[in-house]
Amino acid sequence: MSIRHALLALLSQAPKHGLRLQQEFEEQTGEVWPLNVGQVYITLQRLEQAGLVESDGGDGKGSQKRFVITAAGETELEEWLRTPSSDIPPPRDELLIKVLASLRVPGANVHDIVQVHRRHMIELMQYFWRVKAQAAGDDIGLALIADAEMFRLDGIVRWLDAADIRLKRYLASRTTADSGPAPVPAPPSIQSARMENQ
């Protein structure tokens, strides 16, 4: 889990208190990932049990305990940084299902529906351009997070563009074949999909 490793990364710079770790974590993630101090201490406790950090007991007061990364912790961190992420999302997002569903709704214009979503994605991208413009030039965290979000949105727009063309051809071929309003067969994974987003 990445909170563990994010804390290890912060500790690899220098020994730190729990409260300082919480503040630095939030700064680093551009405050998009709020983390309460309780989560930090629970995570540190688990890291300590696993032998990845040690506490030095501080100056005697429990809450001022400083944490230090161990050699095992450094090895763990190094491996984590180089391990590709395994969380490839299943193709079950809500937008995909909306577009597929619209094909079955009598009178629904799928191209209009695609355009509504395309416009919204681009409006969000315009928003992130402004966020980047407003952010201080040296806020690398914010710039990287805004980039990540914009490329994700860009991917969705590309999918919508491709879907639009594919659907145009598909619907045109059905009209010429005059095969009547047979429903579109959906792949089994989509029929059983859960709405994961929103």
Binding site: Q115, M125, Y127, R130
Partner: protein, 242 residues
């Protein structure tokens, strides 16, 4: 509101005749003011390139009016149109279109020299345009000594030299990596902010989103446009939309 720098009124463009007829543009209306960058998005064949060549008076519409800085192009003679084009309109292309045997500075001053501006005056204006794009140190390099991003900056300097007021760009970042592409878009935006009206045609959503407005062209018609979302609260969580 002030006069639009570019105004298209009910512009249509038809290529071919009878069965081979293609309606590239169908009664398109568009106004672009000084200081503003507008992106036109659409799939291949939607009419994007026709829109740009007609806006730049490189091609005539089949019907409708094109006004540049309030002047109806159809009322101008060929020579007057060419003069207006040289003095007011700059073009930027995907593949830069720089002259290979000419330095960056010489490329930038070509439009002024074609317009009869003395070489010395043209050079001063050229250095000013290059300086605006952070390219002073590269003024005497040839295109093959420049990176893609630098070549496009030279092309942009050439497009805006001599106080041109209308900048038309056709996929200006198509040949660039994403970081250079972003830099070029920000340069285009900065140029518009100092009083130029800009139109950029692209199918790249990421770059289109840099513009003040994005309009969507499909089958020769504008079908939609974006509205700005307000920035409120935390920067990274777009507020309630619509």
């Amino acid at each position: 509101m002030t006069t639009a720098m570019l105004e298209l009124r009910e512009v249509s463009k038809v290529y071919g005749t009878d069965a081979a007829q293609v309606n590239a543009l169908r009664q398109v209306n568009l106004s672009v003011h000084s200081g503003e960058l507008v992106a036109v998005m659409g799939p291949s064949g939607s009419g994007k390139s026709s829109l740009l060549t007609i806006a730049g008076s490189l091609e005539e519409p089949t019907s409708g009016q094109v006004l540049v800085n309030g002047t109806d192009l159809s009322r101008l003679s060929g020579n007057d149109q060419a003069r207006l084009r040289r003095r007011l309109i700059g073009y930027v292309f995907q593949d830069f279109n720089l002259l290979a045997g000419f330095t960056a500075l010489e490329n930038v001053t070509v439009p002024l020299e074609l317009d009869g501006v003395p070489a010395k005056t043209a050079r001063v204006a050229g250095m000013k345009a290059l300086a605006e794009l952070d390219m002073t140190a590269r003024a005497h390099h040839f295109p093959d000594q420049l990176s893609g991003g630098e070549r496009q900056r030279v092309a942009i300097a050439r497009a805006v030299i001599g106080d041109r007021k209308l900048l038309l760009a056709d996929e200006p970042t198509g040949a660039l990596d994403s970081v250079n592409a972003e830099a070029v878009m920000l340069v285009l935006l900065a140029i518009c902010r100092r009083g130029v009206a800009g139109v950029v045609v692209t199918h790249d959503a990421h770059l289109a989103a840099c513009a003040d407005r994005v309009v969507f062209l499909q089958d020769g018609r504008f079908i939609d446009r974006t509205q700005a979302l307000p920035i409120q609260g935390s920067l990274l969580t777009p507020g309630a939309q619509r």
